[in-house]
């Protein structure tokens, strides 16, 4: 043990980690715990920035060996082509195995019905839960963050789900120190959230620090959009624009990536990561409030959907 440099009152010791290092170390610890305790984990991978950061952390956690998990994408059928292209490229680059649960497939088979409003996000739950059951995944990594929404502020890092994937807030286990409890009965699984303690800004700063490549739609670009419900939506076969909606060309970027029918773009001229981070740091709207129509449904909307097995 060498002597520790003397530390000024009120400053940090030379051994204090930066907040990004602390969050990264915690997330890596979570990935390794799951690798050590579960039989068949899978990472939910949408090609959105949170799942990209998750994959990056998993790659770091097990280097120089391969990531001991496969990936799972719930494809709504309304995904941005740029994002699907990115997804396939990353999967190939790292020699990973990708499972796809397709909403379109369920609609074609008549198991699920298209909603009148055309949005498909709420339709993801069944394909996801059936895929978890059929593949017998016992741990499912999600990119959910506790800062995203009030119901998520109480989510555990290890979140137990019953055989119907349901989340019961009263059945969640207290999480003490960094001792995660992953025990579950056959048929149950655990949702694991390695980014629980990250904020949107942390994610962006980490992407910048690590030089992680993202799908192009996260940066400002010219796009044909129309306005609906106060958001700029991309024209497409999913159901827009309607007769009374006008398409115009605008310089926009996406802050989140999801279903085209309910993911809105924001006016932006941020073409670099630095510009994006500066814009977010100055932003006075939370990520979902600005861009996700489905979370505005009601004060309790997210809570209800989590109970049903949504991530």
């Amino acid at each position: 043990m060498t002597t520790v440099a003397s530390v000024q009152e009120g400053t940090d010791s030379p051994y204090a980690l930066s907040h990004l290092d602390a969050l990264e170390s915690e997330a890596v610890h979570i990935f390794r715990e799951v690798a050590g305790e579960f039989e068949k984990p899978v990472i939910l991978f949408s090609g959105g920035k949170d799942s990209i950061v998750m994959l990056h952390l998993a790659l770091k956690a097990f280097a120089p060996a391969a990531v001991p998990f496969s990936l799972l994408h719930v494809d709504t059928g309304h995904n941005f082509p740029e994002v699907l292209e990115y997804r396939d490229r990353v999967v190939a680059a790292h020699g990973l195995r990708l499972h796809v649960a397709s909403v379109q497939d369920y609609i074609d088979r008549g198991v699920l019905k298209e909603r009148p409003d055309g949005t498909r996000n709420p339709l993801q739950t069944l394909p996801l839960t059936e895929k978890i059951q059929s593949e017998k995944f016992d741990a499912v990594f999600g990119g959910g963050r506790r800062d995203e929404e009030k119901a998520r502020a109480k989510e555990r890092v290890f979140s137990l789900r019953d055989e119907f994937s349901q989340w019961d807030p009263r059945r969640q286990r207290p999480e003490l120190w960094n001792l995660y409890n992953g025990r579950h009965a056959p048929g149950e699984h655990v949702r694991v959230f390695p980014l629980s303690n990250w904020t949107e800004l942390d994610v962006w700063q980490y992407i910048a620090r690590e030089g992680i490549e993202l799908p192009e739609i996260y940066f400002a670009h010219e796009r044909e959009v129309f306005q609906r419900g106060g958001m700029w939506l991309t024209a497409g076969e999913w159901g827009g624009p309607k007769d009374d909606e006008t398409v115009e060309k605008r310089q926009v970027r996406y802050r989140t990536v999801g279903d085209m029918s309910c993911t809105g773009a924001v006016d932006s001229d941020a073409t670099t990561l630095d510009a994006v981070i500066a814009e977010i740091a100055a932003s006075r709207l939370t990520e979902r409030g600005a861009t996700r129509a489905d979370d505005k449904m009601s004060e309790a909307a997210m809570e209800d959907r989590k109970r049903e097995g949504y991530f």
């Binding site: 043990m1 010791s13 907040h19 969050l23 990264e24 280097a63 629980s196 303690n197």
Partner: protein, 444 residues
């Protein structure tokens, strides 16, 4: 990558802290005020609060609504679980474990305090130090939270009187010090009016100290390594077995305490085999030294058998291994913990079978009185237990190391987390009664 924004924003540390206070002390308002005045509440969140406040016929926005999450709570108007909040200032990033202070939620406070480096204990200036306050202080002391802040709230209702504040601060500090709390910072505030939460109060010129937020920003995030035993619980063995890395064998884990250097002589527990550290990978880059709480992969000079659940320690500073663990525990499950209970014990990365041999006492937090041989502990009870484990465990005393001196008990039948345990003596433990070990009949 140019410097500017990213670097300026990145040069911060992270402070995890917890709040404790009873339903009426104004804790939700304090948290709402911290978020609101530090500009961490965004427009759409504030609009939602304003809409909800208006729909209930309240005059202004009720800041407490910023933090009440689940429908059940909104209906009951209380908080029923630990909620985590995130905010940042240019100086620091914060993770707040917001825990309800109602009497039956001791376990939530224990949960929140377990990862906290600082606890804010809230009292109502009109009521002063009450039983509940003493309970909050006791939990902070028990969980060895390094920094405690006493926030004396509702100063506006006692005419901002210095004497009222001083008396409460003196009484609390004396009590907390007696429990072994190393540092108390008392701050007079009004969460409702905003005095001394983020902005200094114009109503309390007599107070010359920091506001709550200033204190949170400047309190040392302590990593006092000079007195820490180095400990690395092995999580996972990394063996690529590829053409590029045919013989790589790395032991992955998060350093739980202290510092490791390349060249250190180390011992692997429980086997007791010794070797030296031949390399340390810090997430993809080789380093000479690594410390808590970095996640690393350690390479060892000799090809010895190491697996998940083992503990790598300095040879000159190894903990004793034992199958008899004595600890102070908080029972967190609805079903009681009884003598003879067969459980699983998770310590670091190792989970072993265990049996509850004895529950010598239960502790009442309000007055720290001991009740001998309660026979069982129910939800939210704090007590002493003696546990016999099926395999030897290298445990530290919780007073020395929060991460390697802590454990959880798990119900083997349904996986419920039963109990949070802290090895060794607590502040309240009398001289332990040593009874003869009785090893007969423990067939696991």
């Amino acid at each position: 990558m140019s410097t500017t924004t990213t670097e300026a924003l990145s040069a911060t540390t992270l402070l995890r802290f917890a709040t404790a206070g009873s339903v009426d002390d104004g804790k939700s308002t304090l948290v709402g005020r911290l978020l609101h005045d530090s500009k961490s509440v965004l427009t759409d969140q504030l609009e939602a609060v304003e809409r909800a406040s208006a729909s209930r016929g309240q005059d202004g926005p009720d800041l407490a609504l910023l933090t009440d999450g689940l429908r059940a709570e909104r209906e009951q108007g209380i908080t029923i679980d630990v909620a985590y909040r995130y905010f940042a200032t240019p100086r620091r990033r914060f993770i707040l474990a917001d825990t309800p202070g109602h009497v039956q939620y001791t376990r939530n406070m224990v949960t929140g305090a377990s990862t906290a480096e600082l606890t804010v204990v809230l009292v109502d200036a009109r009521n002063g130090v009450v039983e509940q306050t003493r309970r909050h202080a006791a939990i902070a002391a028990l969980l060895r939270v390094p920094h405690v802040v006493l926030a004396v709230n509702k100063m506006d209702l006692v005419a901002y009187e210095e004497a009222v504040f001083a008396a409460i601060a003196e009484e609390f500090t004396a009590y907390a010090t007696e429990l072994g709390v190393p540092e108390v910072t008392a701050i007079p505030i009004s969460a409702l009016a905003g005095d001394n939460v983020v902005e200094p109060s114009a109503n309390m010129d007599w107070y010359g100290g920091p506001t709550v937020l200033e204190h949170l920003e400047t309190v040392p995030v302590s990593h006092d390594l000079a007195h820490c035993h180095a400990r690395l619980p092995v999580q996972y063995v990394i063996r690529p077995q590829t053409a590029e890395h045919p013989d790589y064998r790395g032991y992955a884990g998060q350093i739980a305490a202290g510092t490791f250097r390349v060249g250190d002589p180390v011992t692997v527990l429980p086997s007791g085999r010794t070797t030296t550290v031949s390399g340390i990978d810090l997430l993809g880059r080789p380093v000479d030294v690594a410390w808590t709480t970095q996640s690393v992969t350690v390479l060892l000079a000799d090809d010895i058998d190491v697996s998940r659940g083992d503990l790598i320690v300095p040879t000159k500073d190894a903990p004793a291994t034992t199958q008899d663990v004595e600890a102070t525990v908080c029972h967190v499950a609805d079903a009681p913990l009884t003598v003879g209970h067969r459980v699983l014990l998770k310590h670091g990365t190792r989970t072993v079978k265990a049996i509850v041999k004895d529950i010598p006492s239960r502790l009442t937090l309000d007055d720290l009185s001991l009740h001998p041989h309660p026979g069982q502990l129910v939800a939210n009870d704090i007590g002493r237990v003696k546990i016999r484990t099926a395999e030897p465990l290298p445990v530290d005393s919780y007073a020395d190391s929060r991460r390697t001196g802590s454990f959880i008990l798990i119900d083997p039948s349904d996986g419920t987390t039963l109990t949070a345990g802290m090895v060794g003596e607590s502040f309240a433990a009398p001289e332990p009664v040593k009874d003869a070990a009785d090893d007969d009949g423990w067939d696991f």
